[in-house]
């Protein structure tokens, strides 16, 4: 159907809201209670627009477009309504922006500058006081005084997580958001509430008071917390990652799970090695690689086992596969069996690894043992040295009921006692790398921060070790790794791996 918005003609599908139609034209109608992924509440009244000929202003979020309608979004009536709604919203607001974490990304601040700019007509002493700093869940703090009662949080818990922890209590200007009796906000997606809260009522207990948001730099990346591979934005500054936020991408909901958001915590975990911990003591990362190479160099090829991982990138696993081939050992494993799928109907995957599909592609080309066979190989006594990711080597050795000297790559603070050498490795927050998610979609993690000095991604470490062994695999640069991936893996032959923007999905 056709209609006019601010005098310009547009065409929309029947059922489109005025707000939606305007947005498609690039006209952003202010909103607080409206959220594209939640039901329409129509309570904040900031999105009031004028329909020519209609006696009253209507809410753009809840009013469907009608044929021939002429909508005004900037008429004097509309601007007055926005100003008045803002005034109403602010009279009982504490105006504590200087100590509020929402400052800088606050709907009240933004719209006041754009639509309000009125002088206060309300005495400070008359403000309604409410609870502040309420501990309402593992990751959230609630300030009822800052709340504008848009009910996005209540609807999120009812409609998305279906856990229904929240409700509105009392009436009128005594209303406040509260936990239902006996409940706490400890669902798997609670931090989304801090995101969708348009003001500083719900803030992240973790991010609170850490950094002013206008200082944050933003890097588009993906979450490696499970096989779903959600699009994220890494917010960082001065080489510190402060928070992970969901990033809009076609095919993904607007959310991020709490577990995924916390994956950046491992970066600066106190136990994360920045040096190589070897039998000989702590070495610089490069010296650690030399140590590992010297141990490998003393063994026959079959005595060396190489262990790929679905928790490591396509690049890392390819380099390990190439290293195994260069050494000439048959004792390697690039296998992982999993049955991935969204387990909670939202985002969380039954498969916790970000790259099992990617690993399978490499396994199909390079072969190697399955995990079960590999366990037998480890138990056979032939293998004298293992190279792989810390957590998995540990698990594999435990399963094989054996202890073999090993050199492990560590991305996190997971303890690695008894290993011959722990090699620090750059994570996906610190190096550009690729995963393939459970649905076969190529996922691009981008380096947001720098790894500690000398710490390399696994693919580069593998390349160095191969060179030190005199069996170079020629993967000095990432471009070379991507070329090798395209050359070796038929499914990726046509994939735009080096084009940072291009999307790709396995057939």
């Amino acid at each position: 159907m056709k209609l006019k918005i601010d005098g310009k003609e547009t065409q929309v599908q029947p059922g489109t809201s005025i707000l939606g139609a305007a947005q498609a034209m690039g006209v952003l109608i202010p909103r607080y209670c409206y959220h594209p992924s939640l039901s329409v509440a129509g309570n904040c009244r900031i999105c009031l627009v004028e329909i020519e000929g209609a006696p009253k202003l209507v809410t753009a979020c809840s009013t469907p477009c009608a044929e021939g309608m002429s909508v005004l979004t900037t008429s004097e009536k509309v601007r007055a309504a926005r100003r008045d709604v803002l005034e109403f919203l602010l009279i009982n607001h504490p105006l504590d922006c200087p100590i509020c974490d929402q400052a800088g990304e606050c709907g009240l601040q933004d719209y006041y500058m754009e639509h309000g700019l009125h002088k206060s007509r309300f005495p400070q002493a008359d403000k309604v006081r409410r609870h502040k700093r309420r501990d309402v869940g593992k990751y959230l703090v609630l300030d009822n005084e800052r709340c504008i009662l848009c009910t996005r949080c209540v609807r999120f818990c009812e409609e998305v997580t279906k856990t229904g922890e929240l409700c509105v209590r009392e009436r009128g200007d005594r209303s406040y958001i509260d936990l239902k009796p006996g409940s706490r906000l400890d669902n798997d997606y609670s931090l989304n509430i801090a995101d969708i809260c348009p003001v500083g009522a719900f803030t992240s207990a973790d991010f609170r008071f850490k950094k002013r948001v206008w200082f944050l730099e933003r890097t588009a990346s993906v979450c490696a917390g499970c096989a779903t591979g959600c699009p994220i934005e890494v917010h960082h500054r001065d080489n510190i990652v402060y928070r992970l936020m969901p990033r809009p991408e076609e095919g993904f909901p607007a959310w991020l799970c709490d577990e995924g958001r916390m994956t950046c915590k491992s970066l600066r975990a106190p136990g994360r090695p920045a040096a190589a911990f070897c039998e000989e003591g702590n070495l610089k990362p490069a010296a650690g690689l030399r140590f590992a190479a010297s141990r490998l160099g003393k063994l026959k090829p079959e005595q060396v086992a190489i262990f790929g991982s679905p928790f490591m990138s396509l690049e890392d696993n390819l380099a390990l596969a190439e290293l195994a081939a260069a050494i000439g050992t048959k004792n390697f494993c690039l296998h992982f069996s999993t049955e991935p799928g969204i387990k909670d109907g939202i985002l969380k995957n039954t498969d916790h690894s970000p790259n099992s599909r990617g690993l399978a592609l490499i396994h199909a080309v390079y072969g190697g043992y399955t995990r079960e066979q590999f366990s037998e190989r480890l138990a056979s006594g032939e293998v004298r040295f293992v190279l792989g990711r810390n957590e998995e080597v540990k698990a594999a050795l435990a399963a094989a009921k054996t202890d073999i000297p090993s050199s492990v790559f560590s991305f996190s603070d997971e303890p690695a006692p008894g290993r011959a050498c722990v090699l620090p490795a750059a994570s996906h927050f610190e190096s550009d790398c690729l995963f393939i998610n459970y649905a076969g979609r190529l996922r691009r993690a981008r380096a947001a921060v720098k790894a500690p000095e000398g710490v390399l991604p696994v693919w580069q470490a593998a390349d160095r070790i191969a060179s030190m062994l005199g069996a170079p695999i020629r993967l000095e640069t990432r471009a070379a790794v991507l070329e090798r991936l395209k050359a070796k893996i038929p499914e990726l032959a046509a994939a735009p791996l080096s084009d940072d923007k291009a999307e790709f999905e396995l057939k």
Binding site: R45, K56, F88, I91, V168, D173
Partner: protein, 419 residues
């Protein structure tokens, strides 16, 4: 006194109701085509008695004919508007009239179930209705296959929990469904998606109680009573310093002057009339002169700048302080705002706070204009009319009695002798 339709008989038993001619309209309705019942109600010109005055027959005709869903008749007996107490009186006088009216409405729209949503404070009236419904079921006036027809109808009483907002029809539906009582966005209207997301007709007690007489005697007969488009009789509840405050049934169109003098006995204690709120506390106030020249019907009161509303007439005498009276209203609407929409949630409280300054000292010269500005910023910008229900009195009180507000703001003693 003119024609009495609603308060004609004080009925205390099922037998008494039968003796007064009860159930004949329902029996007739079970033999009528549903469309014919709706036509008759349309012909009667009966308009909603809850306050909005929407034509009842038209409302019934909005129920989709082809919907496979269940349909419901809901009676709004959540009478909570200050100054309005006529539904309670009607239920006390003749609860069967409402029950019969609901069954006829059910027949008209194809509903098998009805709910009477009774204000929580009306505990005795709810018990009375439950008792009468129980008797009617035993006697076969409610239940399966009424009067040997294929029409079955059952009624339930649902008690409110003390929120004025549940008198707003969609908040009422939310409340029956067990949710927080707050108005829904419209559309969809209840006729399409009402109770339990099914087509629903919601009418006021008085509206439904008028239906049996219309079916029995015909829409044309009913339309012959009243004035113009305001057909029939109306219950008026009059309060304030009058000799005989109470509930009276009068023909629509009766001059206020006649009603005040002949029904309510005139002003008490020789007091002089100052102002009248004609249709429940949310309707704009009229000056004594405006009121004395007005007739009590939908059109006349609209022309006078107010509304017939629920027919709750609040009489204000010259010794009443208008600032004080408005503060009472503001306190009520502040207390009862559901808090959903920003302008109402914040505006009602703000209005009360400013009015307190007038009463307790501290109001400045700009505060009367501030009140007008707050009200103008509330009007027409919310989901339901509760914001307007405070804004309209504020605007009319200040516009018509400005000097009293200015005197308070200037720090003078209230002319009524209050501080």
């Amino acid at each position: 006194m003119a024609e009495q339709i609603l308060l004609k008989h004080k009925v205390v038993s099922l037998d008494g109701y039968k003796a007064s001619g009860g159930w004949t309209a329902l029996e007739k309705a079970t033999r009528m085509e549903p469309a014919a019942i709706i036509d008759e109600v349309k012909k009667s010109g009966l308009r909603g008695r809850g306050g909005a005055g929407f034509p009842a027959g038209l409302k019934w005709s909005f129920i989709p004919k082809d919907s496979a869903k269940e349909r419901y008749v809901v009676c709004n007996a959540d009478e909570g508007e200050p100054g309005t107490f006529k539904d309670r009186e009607l239920i006390r006088m003749n609860p069967y009239l409402l029950i019969e009216g609901m069954a006829i409405a059910g027949r008209a729209i194809g509903a098998k179930t009805g709910y009477i949503y009774v204000r929580g404070e009306f505990a005795r009236e709810a018990a009375l209705l439950e008792k009468c419904i129980g008797e009617a079921k035993v006697a076969g006036f409610l239940g399966e296959k009424l009067f040997g027809s294929g029409f079955s109808f059952d009624l339930h009483v649902h008690k409110g929990a003390g929120a004025y907002i549940c008198g707003e029809e969609t908040a009422l539906l939310e409340s029956i469904e067990g949710r927080r009582g707050q108005p829904r966005l419209k559309p969809p209207f209840p006729a399409v998606e009402g109770l339990f997301a099914c087509p629903t007709v919601i009418n006021n007690v008085e509206t439904l109680a008028a239906v049996p007489a219309i079916i029995e005697k015909g829409g044309a007969w009913y339309a012959g009573i009243g004035a113009g488009k305001s057909t029939g009789t109306k219950l008026f509840s009059i309060s304030g310093p009058v000799k005989k405050p109470g509930v009276y049934e009068a023909e629509l169109g009766i001059p206020f002057k006649t009603f005040l003098e002949e029904y309510a006995g005139g002003m008490a204690d020789g007091k002089k009339l100052k102002a009248v709120i004609p249709g429940g506390s949310s309707t704009p106030v009229l000056t004594a002169e405006e009121a004395m020249n007005a007739r009590l019907d939908y059109e006349s009161l609209a022309a006078a700048g107010s509304m017939l509303g629920s027919g709750g007439i609040i009489v204000i005498a010259e010794d009443t302080c208008m600032v004080d009276a408005l503060l009472v209203l503001a306190r009520f609407y502040h207390h009862e705002s559901c808090g959903q929409c920003t302008p109402c949630r914040e505006g009602t409280g703000w209005t009360e706070k400013v009015l307190r300054r007038f009463e307790e000292g501290g109001a400045g010269p700009g505060d009367a204009d501030l009140l007008l500005s707050i009200s103008n910023n509330m009007v027409g910008r919310t989901i339901c009319p509760l914001a307007d229900a405070l804004a309209m009195p504020v605007i009319s009180f200040i516009t018509k009695f400005r000097e009293e507000f200015d005197a308070h703001a200037a720090g003078n003693t209230c002319r009524m002798g209050r501080k």
